[in-house]
Amino acid sequence: MPQRNDDVTRRRLLRDGLWGACLAGIGGVAGFAAHKGQKVDWLWQIDPYKCIACGNCATHCVLEESAVKCTHVYGICGYCEICFGFFDPEPLAINEGAENQMCPTGAIERKFVEEPYYEYSISKSLCNGCGKCVKGCNAFGNGSLFLQVQHDRCVNCNQCAIAAACPSQAFRRVPADQPYLLKSVDHV
């Protein structure tokens, strides 16, 4: 039946055409994407100037222990004796007693440097990224404490769960060769 043969050839032609079109389509999309520059990977990071330290970082991370932790830039720190990132707003006394500390996980260490300066540092293993100290330091201090995604912990989800839940849209993708958005220290 020549009729049927014709039919089969036509169908095959159509199929081949479609096949070629699909291949070309994939190639086109891939080519477009490949030619857009930017060959490094993306990571998630918090813009400290947008962050309001709402606490979502502590609980919305897909990791049991959040990948977001407090970061301290010493160059901005005033080494205050009475640090509002360290002390409860209404401390009973100015000492390191648990009742006077602000950090609920006890992750901030206070170390005497010299009269009247104290060094504060974050134990990353204890910090859960709640941002309570960030609020205190921002409001009263120099803002040397702020939250950052720690890239040794972050599993770099394609859609960061905290980013989706961030009320101030402070999360953004950053190129992997500049993985942190640290507050700048202009004078150093």
Binding site: L23, A33, L63, V73, Q148, N158, P179, V185
Partner: protein, 433 residues
């Protein structure tokens, strides 16, 4: 005349009110008398980007291996072993991110967001399985995809899903793909990743809700073969269509079908199609009329879908955080809700003007109008096309897997007597050599 200038100054003054001060300067830290040295801030480096390329390489190798195992060696045990390896590597070892399924969104965002581009590795993850599918059918699904693998591994007691139910449920995947692409294009959210049910298992950590969803899907997957792949997977939708055109593909029998019926129930995914029998004459007439009606219906469905999608733009846009924020701020400003939320507090603290926000949100809403219309048209097209394809009589003389639905798992091979013959020949050949 001084007045106009003063007005301008006053206006300028008014304009800057509410704009938070920028350009903060840093105040020098104390000068220490002791030899105290200021520590530098530690910011742990991200894992080396090299892994990405290793992943891409492993993907390529496993795809080649999968193709060989599925199409040439036809050995289910080896396929299963490869699948377990991929599950272990891409899933548990590499934490299942980025996977080709999510990469659809990255590629979409690349196309629509001028400030975003994807690294080569992600591009390879997106494109390679597609190319392989175009040549060899769904070998990616069969042996490489970790999400498929985890489901395949738990499949213990397969039950048949009635064909009618399967056809209906499959629509969800199309919708999911459409929504995933739309929201990615708008920069709203990668929904496919946010609602990935299995990645939590790979990481042994996750939001409990999604872990529960994953557990439920796996529970279902013990009886219904690969529920995510068949009814939800957005990437699978693309692979289905490409697989229809594939050059080489899985065949149940290595040679000719002898119509022994033995493979009939072999496929846990309901992908094996029986030979067709001629319809009664009456049915032909009905079918022809139905086909004509559906052909007319198709453009109507596309149009209606597009219209509905456009009309739904306000709902769709609510997925975008900017739009949600604008809505909230509007409600608060007009005293339509009580109190504030974190997002509105943050908005005010950051000193953006609400008009600016509304303008941005309105623009987004309009873009969602276009996107929604396209999504609607796509859904209409899918449903119309589905109805059409269900109304066309296909001619099959043998038992063969439906190229679209076949997940290339290789389970059916051993059901075919011809396959046993082939294996036997092979063993004999081996002995002969």
């Amino acid at each position: 005349m001084v007045r106009p200038r003063l007005i301008l100054v006053a206006l300028a003054a008014l304009l800057v009110v509410g704009v938070a001060a920028l350009g903060l300067e840093r105040f020098p830290p104390p000068e220490f008398e002791t030899d105290y040295v200021r520590p530098t801030t530690t910011a742990p480096n991200p894992p080396q980007g090299l892994w990405e390329y290793v992943d891409a390489g492993v993907l390529a190798v496993t795809l080649v291996l999968a193709t060989v195992l599925i199409l040439r060696t036809r050995n289910r045990k080896l396929i299963f072993a490869l699948m377990l390896f991929c599950l272990a590597y891409f899933g548990f070892f590499r934490n299942g991110c980025v996977c080709p399924i999510g990469a659809v969104q990255n590629v979409t965002l690349t196309i629509f967001d001028p400030g975003y581009a994807i690294p080569l590795a992600v591009l390879v993850f997106f494109a390679l399985p597609l190319v392989f599918t175009l040549f060899f059918g769904r070998v990616f699904c069969g042996a490489v995809c970790p999400l498929g693998a985890i489901q395949d591994a738990v499949l213990i007691h397969p039950v048949r899903v009635p064909r009618w139910l399967e056809s209906g449920l499959r629509l969800i995947a199309y919708l999911y793909l459409g929504a995933g692409v739309l929201f990615a294009a708008m920069g709203a959210m990668f929904v496919i990743c946010r609602y990935d049910p299995f990645v939590g298992f790979f990481r042994l950590s996750g939001n409990w809700e999604m872990l529960v969803v994953g557990a439920c899907l796996l529970l279902i997957g013990m009886f219904v073969g690969r529920p995510y792949c068949r009814f939800l997977c957005p990437y699978g939708v693309i692979l289905r269509q490409l697989s229809r055109l594939s050059r080489w593909r899985v065949t149940i029998t290595p040679t000719d079908c002898i119509q022994c019926h033995l493979c009939e129930d072999a496929c846990p995914f309901g992908a094996i199609r029986k030979p067709t029998e001629p319809w009664p004459n009456k049915e032909y007439q009905v079918a022809r009329r139905r086909l004509a009606f559906l052909l007319v219906l198709l453009p109507v469905l596309i149009g209606a879908g597009g219209w509905a999608g456009y009309e739904l733009r306000q709902w769709l846009a609510m997925v975008h955080p900017e739009v949600r924020l604008a809505q909230r701020i509007y409600l608060e400003e007009n005293a339509l809700v009580e109190g504030t939320i974190d997002a509105s507090d943050a908005f005010r603290a950051l000193g953006r003007s609400s008009d600016e926000l509304y303008a941005a949100a309105t623009q987004l809403r309009d873009r969602f109008g276009i996107g929604g219309a396209l999504l609607g048209a796509f859904v209409g097209c899918v449903i119309g096309g589905k109805l059409l394809s269900l109304s066309v009589k296909r001619r099959r003389t043998d038992y063969e897997p439906d190229p679209a639905s076949c997940l290339a798992c290789g389970r059916c091979y051993r059901y075919c007597p011809k396959e046993h013959e082939r294996l036997k020949r092979g063993r004999e050949g081996l002995v002969r050599h």
